[in-house]
């Protein structure tokens, strides 16, 4: 990256030194602005023809620039890369401007289906249905349409498999799928399981008699 841009700086402007970004940070800022998806340090290094260490240093400069409360934008690490996003404090004005709420709600059926896809991916629709106990067709269709999940080939039996994608990570503020907590933490305790089992058997006996 050349420093040619510096030459264009109007000589008369009263520029605070702190406010002037180093050349590489400027380029990284522009790339983050242009790209629809989070960019990894490796992608940024390739595009800027700089070393990854230099890119990380530039990201650190930007992170300070975009520290919470300083600007209307934030620098976020999401889905294995970096991206710019609006600061939540600007949401009211954004909603008035774009006249649509940020699509942020999921129905319980959609949330359950998404949770199953997120934890079990790749997973087929029959499998989702088996776990939920009710059909997941319409929830799956909506999640596909909203771009939160995508097709991931077919199972050996020919059923379409689904997985989450980078848009999902972005929307849920996740750096990677590893940030999802271990699903086992929500399992019932042995006591609860024993109680459930007993209730089930009682219900079965009542029906049989």
């Amino acid at each position: 990256m050349s420093d040619a841009a510096d030459a264009r700086k109007p000589s008369g402007a009263a520029v605070e030194h702190e406010a002037e970004l180093p050349s590489l940070a400027r380029t990284v800022e522009a790339l983050l602005f242009l790209s629809a998806d989070p960019l990894s340090p490796a992608e940024l290094a390739d595009a800027t023809e700089a070393g990854e260490g230099a890119v990380l240093a530039a990201l650190a400069v930007l992170a300070e620039q975009y520290a919470p409360g300083r600007r209307g934008l934030r620098l976020r690490e999401l889905g294995g890369g970096w991206t710019l996003a609006s600061d939540p404090s600007t949401e009211d004005a954004a909603r008035r401007l774009l006249s649509r709420p940020r699509a942020s709600t999921l129905t319980p059926a959609q949330a359950e289906t998404l949770a199953i896809v997120a934890y079990m991916q790749p997973v087929s629709r029959p499998e989702i249905t088996r776990i939920r106990g009710v059909s997941a067709d319409s929830a799956t269709a909506t999640l596909l349409e909203r771009g939160l999940i995508e097709e991931a080939g077919s199972s050996q039996f020919g059923a379409v498999l689904y997985r989450t994608n980078s848009h999902f990570l972005k929307l849920f503020g996740l750096r990677s799928l590893e940030e999802l907590p271990d699903v086992a933490r929500w399992d019932a305790s042995p006591d609860e399981q024993a109680e459930l089992r007993e209730r089930l058997l009682r219900a079965g006996e009542a029906r049989a008699s």
Binding site: F33, L34, A36, R74, R76, T83, L84, A85, S86, D87, P88, S89, T90, E91, A94, R102, S104, T105, L106, P108, A111, E112, L114, A115, I116, A118, Y119, R130, I131, R132, G133, G158, K170, L171, F172, G173, L174, L180, P181, V183, A184, W186, D187, A188, Q193, L196, R197, L200, L201, G204, E205, A208
Partner: protein
């Protein structure tokens, strides 16, 4: 109009629907070989040609085709039927429990996801097309960079007909509809009876086949029935042909029988 006017032209049978039913009941047409979807399609064509919907015959058709479907699905499952029937209550409970725990786990995980999403409230990302000066280069994909064989392979894959499932090994049912028809007629000659009494102690297959026989008696106008409440007792009585029972009562009878 009667269902008798419904002419079928199927792979395994050609003739009126009534005759098909009779042949199925006499086991002269193999229900396993009968494509019931084709029967439904033929009926829909028939309706369309007539241009009017006769609720009574439509209901009758739905009831009969549902009974055929039920019987056919049980025929197809005969191999597993033994296992399903002989499953121990504890084992059934364990399986159910495992499913409930699975569902519960992911329901809790979904609540976590909903929290994450709520925490991101107000965060928006830019969604804008690339500026024109940069846009031009994005479609610059090398000519000839894709291999046409990918397309050929895909077509070849699509031409593969999956092997059809062989159901020859499935055993014939131990109960025949004809047998249950005679049994029900015997009960009718003695007067009213309740369906539960008629199938007391019988296995699920016999219950299903008895129900189908009962549907056949209804269709022939030999029997009618009444059910006071959902899942309640179904009392069956003999009929002389002039007074068919309300068709809707059948739905309750259908779900009440096997559940009992």
């Amino acid at each position: 109009m009667s269902l008798a006017a419904l002419e079928l032209d199927l792979d395994v049978f050609s003739g009126p629907f009534d005759l098909l039913l009779t042949l199925v009941l006499r086991e002269e047409v193999d229900l396993l070989e009968l494509a019931l979807a084709d029967v439904v399609l033929a009926y829909l064509d028939h309706l369309e040609r007539r241009g009017e919907l006769d609720l009574e015959t439509s209901t009758e058709f739905i009831v009969l085709i549902a009974a055929l479907l039920e019987l056919k699905s049980r025929l197809m499952l005969t191999g597993e039927e033994e296992q399903l029937l002989d499953i121990e209550p504890e084992q059934a409970a364990e399986e159910l429990l495992a499913r409930m725990l699975d569902a519960r786990r992911y329901r809790a995980a979904s609540a976590h996801l909903a929290d994450l999403l709520a925490g991101e409230h107000g965060v928006r990302f830019r969604a804008a097309p690339l500026p024109a000066n940069l846009r031009r280069s994005i479609v610059l994909q090398a000519d000839g960079s894709q291999n046409p064989d990918v397309l050929g392979e895909a077509i070849g894959r699509l031409l593969l007909v999956p092997p059809s499932i062989n159901v020859r090994h499935i055993a014939m049912p131990r109960v025949s509809v004809a047998e249950r028809l005679e049994y029900l007629r015997g009960l009718l000659r003695r007067g009213c009876f309740s369906f539960d009494d008629a199938v007391r102690g019988a296995d699920r297959m016999t219950v299903a086949v008895t129900l189908f026989a009962l549907l056949e008696l209804y269709k022939r106008g030999e029997a009618g029935w009444a059910q006071q409440e959902c899942f309640g007792e179904i009392s069956v009585r003999g009929l002389s042909r002039q007074a068919p029972a309300p068709a809707l009562a059948l739905a309750g009878g259908g779900s009440g029988g096997p559940a009992g």
